[in-house]
Amino acid sequence: MLEKETQSNVQQQTGATVLLTALKKQNVNLLFGYPGGAVLPLYDALYQMKFQNILVRHEQGAVHAAEGYAKVTGKPGVVFVTSGPGATNAMTGLANAMSDSTPIVVFTGQVGVGAIGTDAFQEADVLSMTAPVTKNNYQVRRVADLPRIVAEAFRVATTGRKGPVVVDLPKSVTQEQVTELTDDQVHLTSYQAKRPLDQAAMDEMLLALRQASKPVILAGGGIGAAQASTELRKFSKDFQLPVVASLLGLGDMPTDEPLFLGMGGMHGTYTANMALTECDFLLCIGARFDDRLATAPKQFAPNAKIAHIDIDPAELGKVIAADYPIVADAKVALEYCLAQPMKPAHDQTWLQLLQQRKAAHPYSYQESSTELKPQRVIELVGRLTKGDATVVTDVGQHQMWTAQFYPFSRPQQLITSGGLGTMGFGLPAAIGAAFATPDKTVVLFVGDGGLQMTSEELDVLAAYDLNVKVILLNNGTLGMVRQWQDLFYEKRRSQTVFDHQPDFMKLAAAYGLRHLKVTSPVTVAAELERAFSSPHAMLIEADIPALEQVFPMIAPGKSNDQMIGVK
C-alpha cells in the first residue's frame, strides 16, 4: 500500500512540474504568458500547482510586461509562450530587453524532441532566431538538464550586464515522467559576470579627475541596474560634480538637484549638451554612448579626457575611445570613489556657468490658452503625482516630452524603450509595472500610433483594474517621424498622418475601461486631478496639436553643441 502511494506521487512529477518547482526556487510567483499546443503540459501543471499567470492578449505584450515588471522590481520577469508563432511574437520583446539590459527569462514551447527539424506544426527554430537578441539561450533536450538550465538561465539573466535569456522547452520534455530528480547545480564554467575592480586604474582615473577644472559625470542605465543611485548622488554632492543623464539614467539624480544638468543628447537640455561639449573630464558610468546621446562620436566631448566605467568590457572603446577604461559594476566603482580622500578641487566658475545656463535655458514650450499642449499635460501629471509615480512611456515625441517635463525623483522610475525604440512597448510594460507595484500609481504616456500597436492589452488592464492612468497624447500623426519629415524632408508627410482613427473613448468603453477626454487647457488641471483621485485604471485622451515639435533637437550626425530650438 505504502509503496503504491509513493509510486503515484512520483508519477505526478513531469518535466512541467519540475520546471515550476525550479521557478518557485527562484522566487518566481508571477508569470506573463499565453498558452498553446506545445505548452499544454506546462499550463496543465500551472493549473494544478496554482501558479499565477497573467494572461496577456498577445505574446509581445507578455514580454514587455515582464520587462516592466523587471525594471520596477529588479527581479527577473518570467514569460511563457508557445512554440512557433508564440515564440516569434516574443522576438520584439527579447530584442528590446537585450537593448536595454533588462533581466527576463522567456520559456518558449517547442515541438517534441522527435519532431524537431521536421517542419512540424508550429515549429520554429527558436534557438537560432533568438541567438542575436538574447544574452544566452538554451534548448532543454533531456528533462534531467532542466533544473540546472533553469538555475543557469536566472543566473545569467540577473548578473553581470543583465539581459534576456530564452529556454526552449520541447513538449516531450515537459510531459516526460520523472522518477528521479536531478540537481540544479549551476555549471557556468565559461561565464564571468564579475571581475575584480582594477584599483590602480581607478586611482589613476581619480587623480586625473582631481586635476580637472570642468568635470562632468554622464550617468546611464547602469546606475539603476546596479542600484547605485545613492552612491552617485553622494559622489556628485561631496565632490561637487555635475551630472548629465542618458534617457535610461533619468531618475539616477533627482530632477531638482542643482548639480543635475538634465538629459543629454538629441532632445536633452542645452546645459547638459554644452557641458558634454565643453568639459575637460567626462566620467561616464553605465552608459554606452548611444547615437542618440553621442550624436557625432568624432566630435564628442572634444576637449575631455574620457573615463568610461561599464560592467560590460565590450562597451569600452566600442563607440568612444576612453582614456580611462574601467570594467566595473557601477556600485562597486562608486563605493571605491567614495572611500578615497577627495576634495572638490575644481574652481567654482564651471559650476556657476552651468547654473547660469540652467536658469537661462530650461526646457520650454509655447504655452497656449486655446490648445492643449502635451508638455503642459505632463507637467500637470508630474505635479499631481508629486514626481513619484512609476512612469512608463511608449516611443516617439511623447516619450521625449515625458523625459523633459516629468520631474523624476528616483532611479528605475522611468520605464521606457530606450535602445530599440519599440512602439507598442508602453501599454504592456505599464501593466507589468502595475503588477510589480500595486501600491503606486503607474502613469503611461503613449501616442496614438504606439497605443494601436498593442491596444489589445487594454483588456488586461480592464480585467485586473490596475491603477494605471493611460495618458494618450493624441496628435493624429506619427509625430516623431512627421517631425523629421518636416525638418529634413521638406515637410513631405509621407504616411505619417492618420486619415482615420478609432474613437479611443469608445474603444475604452468596449473594454469596460473608465475613460476621459481632455481637450481644453482651461479645464485640464481639474479634470486630471479628479481622474488621479481614483485608484482605477483609466484611459485619458488628450487632444494635442498635430504639429507640435520636440525641442531642443540635435539633427542626426551633428555634434552636441549644435542644438536647434533652444530657448
Binding site: L127, S128, A131, P132, K135, N136, N137, Q139, R141, V156, R161, L188, T189, S190, Y191, D312, P313, A314, L316, G317, K318, A321
Partner: protein, 156 residues
C-alpha cells in the same frame, strides 16, 4: 575556447556576422576535455582596435572561455590541403620534384590527375599553390587553419 554545447558555434559566428566580419577560415573541435571546444579562426580586420572590440564581443558570450588574437604572437599554425592537379603520367616526375621541397605527398592517382596533400602554414600552402597552378588545379579543399600560441603551457 568555448563550451561544446548545441547552438554555441551559431552564436559565435552570429556575433561576427552582425559586425560585418567575414570569416576567412574556421576550424573547431573538442579538446582533451570533451565539454570544451577550441576554435581557430582567420579573419581580416581594419586595425588593432577592431580586433580588440571583436575579442570583447566574443568573450562576453556566456559559453566562451577566452579569445586571443594570435596574429602577432609567436604561434604554431597548420592547415591540411588536398589539391587535385591535372597531370598526365609523363608530367608526374616533374610535378613530384616540384612539390618535394614542400614535403607534400601524392595520396591518390588516376590516369589524368593526381591528388596532392600538404600540411603547413597558410604561407607555405600559398607557395605550393603558386607552384602547381600552371599544371591546372581541378579541385581544392582546405581544412582551414588550426593553431595556438607557442608559449602556451596548457596541456590541451
Amino acid at each position: 575556447m568555448m563550451t561544446n554545447n548545441p547552438g554555441v558555434l551559431n552564436r559565435f559566428t552570429g556575433a561576427l556576422n552582425r559586425r560585418q566580419v567575414n570569416i576567412d577560415s574556421i576550424s573547431i573541435s573538442p579538446v582533451v576535455d570533451p565539454a570544451v571546444s577550441r576554435v581557430t579562426m582567420a579573419v581580416y580586420l581594419a586595425d588593432k582596435a577592431a580586433s580588440t572590440q571583436l575579442l570583447r564581443q566574443l568573450e562576453k558570450q556566456v559559453d566562451v572561455f577566452e579569445v586571443k588574437d594570435i596574429t602577432d604572437v609567436p604561434h604554431i599554425e597548420r592547415e591540411l590541403v588536398l589539391i587535385k592537379i591535372s597531370a598526365l603520367p609523363e608530367k608526374r616526375a616533374e610535378l613530384l620534384a616540384m612539390i618535394q621541397p614542400f614535403r607534400a605527398a601524392i595520396v591518390d592517382v588516376s590516369s589524368v590527375d593526381v591528388v596532392v596533400q600538404i600540411t603547413g602554414t597558410r604561407s607555405k600552402v600559398a607557395a605550393l599553390l603558386r607552384v602547381v597552378k600552371p599544371y591546372g588545379i581541378l579541385k581544392l579543399v582546405r581544412t582551414g587553419v588550426a593553431g595556438f600560441p607557442r608559449a602556451e603551457s596548457t596541456s590541451d
